[in-house]
Symmetry: C2
Subunit: 312 residues, 2 copies
Amino acid sequence: MAQVKNQQVLLKHYVSGFPKESDLNIVDSTINLKLPEGSNDTVLPITGYGVSKVLESGHKDYKEGDIVWGITNWEEYSLIPAAQIHFKIEHTDVPLSYYTGILGMPGMTAYSGFFEVGSPKKGENVFVSAASGAVGQLVGQFAKLHGCYVVGSAGSKEKVDLLKNKFGYDEAINYKEEQDLDAALKRHFPEGIDVYFENVGGKTLDAVLLNMKLHGRIPVCGMISQYNLTQPEGVTNLAHIIYKRIRLQGFVVVDYYHLYAKFLDFVLPHIREGKVVYVEDIAEGLEKGPAALVGIFSGKNVGKQVLVVARE
Amino acid sequence: MAQVKNQQVLLKHYVSGFPKESDLNIVDSTINLKLPEGSNDTVLPITGYGVSKVLESGHKDYKEGDIVWGITNWEEYSLIPAAQIHFKIEHTDVPLSYYTGILGMPGMTAYSGFFEVGSPKKGENVFVSAASGAVGQLVGQFAKLHGCYVVGSAGSKEKVDLLKNKFGYDEAINYKEEQDLDAALKRHFPEGIDVYFENVGGKTLDAVLLNMKLHGRIPVCGMISQYNLTQPEGVTNLAHIIYKRIRLQGFVVVDYYHLYAKFLDFVLPHIREGKVVYVEDIAEGLEKGPAALVGIFSGKNVGKQVLVVARE
């Protein structure tokens, strides 16, 4: 029983530009389910945040049968260094997939970025890009719970409908149908934007800078429109950072995991009462991984993209 | 005696792009030195921070003979609304011109931007652009007093010499002689930059973003390279704000004038003991105003550009 088949998603080579499905391989390898004595060496598949069940552990904090979330390889069985495990899962009355999303890295990202970096006040005007995504859909709901006016942007009619009908955004912008994003923002924010939760960068940031209010804040979570460009678009309206005394602040969720217990206390009751919802786009089976990954960069997924490797 | 000649510097028209001397007029007008009963209406010359002596005042805080600094017109005599006067000058053992510089708006800008926005710690690495200018020369000296390693950039050999020999910068970069600013920064900051005091924007900011340290801070004071461009240069490396969790924060000195007394307590002893110096580039006579203004945008001035309208 020690050696078992272990399907993996591997990168064929270093990828520059947007990934294509042909950059990835599905490989049937094998893995020894007994803990090795020494080395952690292993072929490195793609990694991502995942939920795993412990089969065997040499670490005092984890034992067989525990469910954990953290950084895992894209494969059926993994040898995971303890440092990659973020938290043991204590609450299992909610879907386990939530620990890759609303109760995992994206949830903590939305929470820390909006509340800790964005410093929102009740009644303020909030704009969110990639607003139906893994993080954005939560920023919008948190902002509404906080008493803010919230507008989101997304790239399809289906997503825009979700923003207004499912996540409670006050208004929604389909950026692919707006000739002039600056004008669209002026329409929805005649008095300007206090907090812009930045997920996309590039032209969107440029238009937002023209519409920020005095002392506005921009938590910078991501710039997905720019990541895989050989030459990023130039942002030209940065002088507005001075005119409006804007704080533009990059953050990474790992700096905020000490707040995880506080976050669960905040969000779990809202989930159980149905006051916060979470939309997932679930692909079944490791072999769907490459297409799911590639789809994220073209906005194909609706909500948090989840890849199911196995169900219990 | 009520009507006197009043030389003024006037704009001929709205200026787009960099100002030229031909955009400005020197005009001999007259002014009534008795306070009018009602209206404040007046032709509007260029305004700037100036030091003035009160001839007559209807405001309880000011009386004949007081010396004040604040926003004044470029003219010999001015009717100044009280709101434009920032502070009455109490310490006259230092040159009065200092209240247009080290003890005025530029000094408060350097102090609030570096200490309040930049949150510097002893031993950190600081980079300053426009480092010999009205603000930059002080940021460098404040950073040295604070125990930081400080490198400045400027655009001539004369300025670079000042940085090292007069203001105590550890190293200085003549950006006009560097083919590759990124490489120059890597040379002077092999471990990266903690605080970048931003005065210029554009390509300099782009190179700095590549060299910031984790949790670096960028107080954004100015972007003088961009102000008068019809189309600003695009900044392409903003994604580093995320990777390095950078805080980029615009500020305007008027938000910090409540700290003015604290600032004077800090800086006056240093001036009297010669531990902080201030270099001024003095033009004599209102008629030199247009050339002095135009020169700022091409970096002609060395140190704080001061225009002397009259000496006591």
